[in-house]
Amino acid sequence: MVTAAGTAFLPRERLDALLDLLREGGRTVIGPTVRDGMPVLGEIATVADLPAGWRDEQSPGRYRLSDGHGDRVFDIVNGQMSWKQFTFPPRQKVGEMNRFAVDGSISFQPSAPDPPRLAFLGVRACELAALGIHDRVLAGGTFVDEDYRARRDAALVVAVQCTRSASGCFCTSMGTGPEVRTGHDLVLTELDDGFVVDAGSPAGERLLARLPGRLATPGEEAAASAAVAATRAAIGDPVATDGLRDRLMDQLDSPRWGQVADRCLACTNCTMVCPTCFCTSTSISSDLGGAVNVTERGWDSCFNPGFARVAGGNFRPKREDRYRQWLTHKFATWIDQFGTSGCVGCGRCVTWCPVGIDVREELAAIAPPALPAERPFIRPAAATPGRFEITTLRASHPETPDTATLTLVPTEPVLLAGLPGQFVMVDMPGFPAFPISVSRYAHDHLLLTVRGAGPATAALLNTPVGGQVGLRGPLGTGWPIDRALGRDVVIVAGGIGLAPLRPVVDALLADRGRFGKILLAYGARTPADRLFTGELTAWTDRGVEVLQIVDRSGPGWAGRVGVVTNLLDHRDFASRPTVAFVCGPERMMQATTSVLRDAGVSRERLFVSLERHMQCGIGLCGHCQMGPFFVCRDGPVFTLTELGALFTREGV
């Protein structure tokens, strides 16, 4: 908002002086311009590069530019590109990982931020809000995207108040515009013969003091305010935002999701043009020998089929799942995660949808009341996506035909300071990083129990003794052992799910006297698929009731056959306070938690560990989103209470 004190007026013919000021110190000015008849944000080398007389006409799925509308240079409300193109580039080198031919040793070189010095000219109120949201998402939490922060710190922001609006605009509803309030260095309001200019930061004040021109007259200030007010009136209040979060989360079953999916192309345009969408994926380019590997991060989208895929399937296989994920994240669970809506009402997703799906219509069609939930942010450990600690493989112990336990010796003690249930991101030259749970911590090493589910895990298993492996972590929440103090403990593991639970057994046995009865129910596909068979008897000797069952009997097996719930069917846990830790395939956890609840374990004491597609491991890449959670950061261990209706629900 233009304030009375110190408000200046810059005549139109002196706009070059503003550009000169912005360019000082070697800055490049970026602003709206027209190239090949298309609206872009590009370098503004001279005033002539600004789109004088150009205007946009927008409607869902349609955008047209036309010129000859006078002299104004900021009459294009917005174009397809947002400023994230510059603050959060579409592609960014994360680091380089090399393997030396001589001794097979590996090295990591995370990329250091090297931001260009830019001045953003013509940032709208909604876009300032978007930058503010990115500040929270990418630089406001425990973990910080250093590159983003450096780029933000290096950029000057010259805002422009909107004196026109487009048909897609709904900043008024989202509370982000059209008035510019905060986040800028300078703010302009364009009038016919010039610009009313005000400062929004100390840096802006200094620029303003050196800007030629004069103080704005009260008439000019009034004209500026009136123009912005008229814009607000023109936009109206197209989206009812009261209680929107709860109304949306109540409608996970709305038939409308399926209807919009009939039209939705899942083309990712809405997310790519959105100024706040921040999901990314990493890719690796290697030389033919796999010695030099450059890791790059690029914008990804929850609409892509591979976005939520894991080794066994896809958590959001259908278009409607993905549309629902996007909309509920943007307007609802974003609030849980970051304390703000993820939408700023710029309307790009409406205009640039190739088939004109209007998010405002969809929101209106998917309505009613509420359920709140707030989750405190837990979490220790520091890590950035490009930084890995090097460990050396000391031993590899086969567990089953396709699974082995690796002994990895780190040089950094931080890797050994984890909690039961935490995981590490594993990085090897040539492969994308992937998460593996720690199956035991020891004084100088940690154990990872790995199943060769794909090429990367197979390569990890093939690492020769003495070879090096990169690890980042430990990450995620652990099993809350303290919640089990003085209580009976039921541990239910399915298949490889025993690996992340073994540290729980270790912890309980280390302090056996402080816990009640301990039952370990372990189900596996066949007798040969059981992990840690040697230890299972040892645990029995140390006071753990160990029950095992297999889906399919095998040679020499005289034990139980059936599913793991058979072991719990006839039990009663209601009489004594009991805590349960469950890990296995999602369907197994669903069946198990349902039996445990029937048997008297309360939802708050029922803990499960979820699997999702993870790339960064610290809640920045967006792949592992589930409702309000980033599974990597907020989980993987959750109580059933936290998960609520999301647990085992298809397609979230």
Binding site: A453, R560, V561, V563, H570, R587
Partner: protein
């Protein structure tokens, strides 16, 4: 009243029995006999008439079926508290699997003809017994389906290499 240590009391301490009325427990106990069986003992044969219905009190039983050319396979095991021979109460009264004791086990046995006669005579008993029976069968069905899902199987992903 049921005396502690009586068969009715033993029945009541099981999962299956705990869901029955006292009346039902006592009528069943009156027909039941307590048996210790050795590992390997066959309690029912697949395809034969279901000669008895039972409740496992201690030990472990296996349900097995014969598969042509592959010998027998254990479908699942029965835990203490659960029943076997449910087909004694459901036409055509033929055993759907062979029941073998895996460990030294203690079972409560009812002769199936007598059980059916009793159910015909006593509607109250029937009303108490059938829901519990169905619950057990339905659990078993659910477990079987879960097994069929092959939860731990490694889904083969698209892997060219």
């Amino acid at each position: 009243m049921t005396a502690p240590g009586s068969l009715a009391a033993r029945l009541g301490s099981t999962w299956f029995g705990s869901g029955l009325s006292i009346h039902a427990r006592e009528r069943l106990a009156a027909l039941a006999e307590l048996r210790e069986v050795e590992p390997g003992a066959v309690l029912l044969r697949e395809g034969a008439d279901t000669e008895r219905f039972g409740v496992l009190l201690r030990g472990l039983l296996a349900l097995r079926v014969g598969v042509a050319g592959r010998g027998t396979a254990t479908l699942m095991t029965v835990e203490p508290g659960d029943i076997f021979g449910w087909s004694a109460a459901v036409p055509p009264y033929r055993a759907t699997s062979t029941v073998v004791a895996l460990e030294a086990s203690q079972v409560l046995l009812l002769e199936s003809g007598a059980l059916r006669d009793l159910l015909r005579d006593d509607e109250q008993l029937m009303l108490a017994l059938y829901p519990r029976l169905l619950e057990s069968v339905s659990r078993r069905l659910t477990a079987t389906r879960t097994q069929l899902l092959d939860l731990y199987a490694r889904d083969r992903e698209y892997e060219p290499w």
